[in-house]
Assembly symmetry: C2
């Protein structure tokens, strides 16, 4: 563990740019940022610690990360999982309100945050675009509040799978790859690993999903899954 950052300036060739990743995308901002340093991180490696000043903004080229908040006794709440195309350090003010860790072998491009701040001042379109991105994030967070506060374990898992499927453009009977651990899912959904595991097993027995491996889910009955996730009795 605690492997050092492997920094390289060469661009990663295998970007694996996924289909439906829209919410964190930064097309209008691409040009503003210019070239950046490419960073490769090992699974489990910490990239940002909650409270760190926002010095850079990052975009994920390959792999994935988790954003999370923690309390003193070790409890964690995963705020979001980011996939290739997503970024962090772009929205936000002085400091990161969450920690960032790599889920798998992950490569990112890093740009000085100052370049964004300059762009906000100079280019009105940048501020508009960032405002729009922040609004999208806010709506995501508010949807997650409904999930965390009012949904059952079944409904949470169903919603999670559906949201991820939509984000990655997966359809019925396609295989959805879950790069994160059961613990990560639990901390994202306000559950324990055991409950996550049991719920996957139950959904499998009921035929709503198939588990090729613990990290590869086939969405067998998308509609049933959807009505479950929406909380329709």
């Amino acid at each position: 563990m605690a492997a050092p950052f492997l920094v390289s300036t060469t661009t990663q060739p295998s970007l694996s740019s996924v289909a439906g990743v829209e919410s964190h995308e930064v097309p209008a901002l691409e040009s503003v940022l210019g070239p950046g340093a490419t960073i490769v991180t090992m699974p489990g490696q910490t990239i940002i610690v909650e409270g760190d000043p926002i010095r850079h903004c990052y975009r994920i080229l390959a792999g994935g990360v988790r954003l999370y908040k923690a309390i003193a006794d070790g409890r964690r709440q995963v705020i979001d999982f980011l996939v290739p195309g997503d970024g962090f350090g772009l929205i936000g003010r002085r400091r990161y309100p969450y920690s960032v860790e790599a889920i798998s072998l992950t490569s990112l491009v890093r740009h000085p945050r100052a370049r964004v701040d300059e762009a906000i001042e100079s280019d009105p379109v940048v501020a508009q675009r960032l405002f729009e991105l922040a609004c999208i994030e806010l709506e995501r967070a508010q949807r997650q509040m409904l999930l965390l506060g009012r949904k059952s374990a079944d409904e949470k898992i169903a919603s999670f799978l559906l949201a991820l499927a939509e984000r990655l453009g997966k359809h019925e009977n396609e295989t959805l790859h879950l790069p994160m651990s059961r613990q990560d899912m639990a901390d994202y959904l306000g559950l324990t690993i055991e409950t996550v595991s049991r719920t996957f097993s139950r959904l499998r027995k009921e035929g709503l999903i198939e588990l090729a491996t613990p990290h590869d889910v086939v969405l067998a009955k998308l509609e049933t899954l959807r009505s479950l996730g929406e909380g329709v009795e």
Copy 2:
């Protein structure tokens, strides 16, 4: 119930502008919006329904409102409570992702949303300010995700009281007025009315708070309340 909107164009004199209301304030935007129509709503009255197009933005002069999302079977998640000085309809894109209802007798000023959209295009400072506001809202939402996913009933109530106290600039042994019902608090914290009521009673027995009335809490031991809210064992 279902009393009609009482619209008047005269400005409400008793603004009751509270001290520490910062997160929803719109000082730089005041001038942009110009004069608006004043609206008075009765307790429980619906102002916005989830999914409504954002045609106006509102600022609360007196009273208070709840923002909430609901599912088909009636379960609700209160997203936030707004107090005088706060606003809604300013941050967000096409449609409201939540419903808005008055908690108490509430007066608001309403401005056409189009005026904001024009200002975003024409005045770079407006877009910057809105981006900043959205970031603040996002951080609030993310803190609430930690509360909903990982805190116990005690910790939730303690956090809630502390956040409200800070927002209204209340200190130790001062009385904090809670304008919302137990049901609203429950739906905000992901609990039931009974659990909210029981937890208030327990905190009272332990001497952390006093209950002048069910809606007026004296914060007797602010530090103990704080460590409880932070999740320190």
